[in-house]
Subunit: 149 residues, 2 copies
DNA sequence: TCAAACATACATTCATAATGCATTTATTAT
DNA sequence: ATAATAAATGCATTATGAATGTATGTTTGA
C-alpha cells in the first residue's frame, strides 16, 4: 500500500515546473527538459521520459519536441489538483479485490463498500490541494533545484 | 495502490469466524481450521497458514494446536477494529517515499505531509467500523460459507 | 541537414508478494 | 504410550508488476 515511484516522480516533475512558474509571471516561461529533471532528481531518463509523456497526455504540461524543446505547465498551479494527478498516475483501481481470487462472501460482503468509501475520502481530502499548495516554500525549492544536479 | 491479498485473506478469515460467532452465543464456540478456510475460499493452505499465524500473534484469534485444534475469535467482533486489522496486516508504511530514491526537494516539500494526513484520514474512517459492521448480513454469510467448499 | 528534444516500442531487471514444500511442535483421542 | 491432527516455522520457488534499459522514430529549430 504505497504510491508508485512513477506517481512520485510525476509529482516531483510538476513541483519542479511550478517552482519556476512562480518565479516570474511576465517573462517567457522557462522550458524544462527530461535531462534537466534527471540531473536534478538523479532519476532514470527512461522512467522520467514516460512520466513526462503521461503528464503531457493528461494536458497538465505542454511538451515541445525538437531543438530548444522541453515542457512547461499547461495550466496554473492552482488549477492542478493533487487528487487528479495522483488518481491518474496511480491508476484508479479498487483498493480491495473481490474477484481475484474470487471471494465467495462477495454477495453479502460489506467490506468492499467500506474500503471504497475510505479511498474516496482519501481523494476527497487530496482534492483540497493543488500544485500551488506545494509552493508555499517556492523560493527554497528554486534554490534547491538550481543548486542540485 | 491496493491492499495485499494477504490482508484481504486476513479479513476473509475474520469474517468467516465472526459469522459463526454470531450464530450461537451460548454453545461452545466452533473452531475453524486452516483446511476449512482453504476449502471455503479456495485459497492456498500455506498463505492462509501465515495469515492465521499473524492474526494469532495480534491476539485477534486464539489458535489451538493438535487434534481437534483450530482457531476462533479472541474477542467480540465489535472489539475488532477494521483499521487495526488492515494497518497491522498491511504494514504501517508511508504511502509516499522521499528517501528511496532520495528527493532533493524534501526539505521544502509539502507533499509528504499532505499524503500522510490523507492516509490517516483513511484509517480514521476505517476505525469507525469493526468486524461486527461486516456482519449485517450474517445469516446470508453463514449460508454461503456452509454451502461453499 | 544536423542536432536536440520528446515519442514509442520492446526487452530486461528487480522487488516483493504470493505460493509451495518440508519439517517441527503441540495437543488430544484412542 | 502412540498415532493422528493441527498449527508453527523456515526455506525455496514462482508470479506479478514496477522500475529500468536499449533502440529507434519523429518533430523542430538553427
Amino acid at each position: 500500500m504505497q504510491l508508485k515511484k512513477y506517481t512520485d516522480y510525476g509529482l516531483r516533475i510538476l513541483m519542479y515546473l511550478a517552482s519556476f512558474d512562480a518565479d516570474d509571471k511576465c517573462a517567457e516561461p522557462k522550458l524544462a527538459t527530461i535531462r534537466e529533471i534527471c540531473d536534478t532528481f538523479d532519476l532514470s531518463a527512461n522512467h522520467v521520459n514516460k512520466v513526462v509523456h503521461h503528464l503531457g497526455r493528461l494536458q497538465l504540461i505542454e511538451t515541445r519536441r525538437g531543438k530548444n524543446g522541453g515542457f512547461l505547465l499547461a495550466k496554473q498551479p492552482e488549477d492542478i489538483s493533487l487528487a487528479f494527478v495522483i488518481r491518474q498516475l496511480e491508476g484508479d483501481e479498487k483498493w480491495i479485490e473481490c474477484e481475484n481470487p474470487y471471494c465467495v462472501a462477495m454477495p453479502a460482503c460489506e467490506l468492499k463498500g467500506i474500503v471504497a468509501r475510505g479511498k474516496e475520502l482519501f481523494y476527497d481530502y487530496l482534492s483540497q490541494y493543488t500544485l500551488k499548495s506545494l509552493m508555499v516554500k517556492a523560493p527554497q525549492l528554486r534554490q534547491i533545484f538550481s543548486t542540485a544536479s
